[in-house]
Assembly symmetry: C2
Homo-oligomer: 92 residues x 2
């Protein structure tokens, strides 16, 4: 996996739903009705992440889930991050 | 639920396994073999949190899970946080 350039990232961001590129991560916050709904979402994301063998950096406080994606081995954003982000958007 | 004093917190910390009190939160990092094991742990903690109606602030990066507990409505640490921490230690 090769690291994408800033230009490639900005261009591909248009294909996602409200993700941003900050601190060398693709980032997005998701809001839900309550903890149960938020953790249900996290469980579905976990299954996809495990299947892709590509895992998010993420945090949760009650009904909020913050997700940050990066390909650690490439030192930046790769196609894998965009693939995972696209699948996460489909779940949310 | 009444907020515990610093003295009460320091005393009760002795009953837990390696939690610390920082930034007005009870905190601990848990390490696992891989993401699957880490998320399995999170799922069990989620069920307990929902049952107690008391939810953690937490984050996960691959095999690491960072948990921070506080009773938001009380503006600090209460018995509820120690109860949840004790149950989390039992799972881990």
């Amino acid at each position: 996996m090769t690291k994408l350039s800033s230009e490639e990232i900005q261009s591909k961001l248009q294909t996602l739903n409200n993700w941003s590129f900050e601190d060398n991560f693709l980032q997005k916050q998701f809001g839900f009705k309550d903890f149960s709904e938020a953790f249900g979402f996290m469980s579905r994301v976990a299954l996809i992440a495990e299947k892709l063998d590509h895992h998010p950096n993420w945090s949760n406080v009650y009904n909020k889930v913050d997700i940050r994606l990066q390909t650690h081995d490439a030192g930046g954003i790769t196609e894998k991050d965009f693939k995972l982000a696209t699948l996460i958007d489909k779940i949310a």
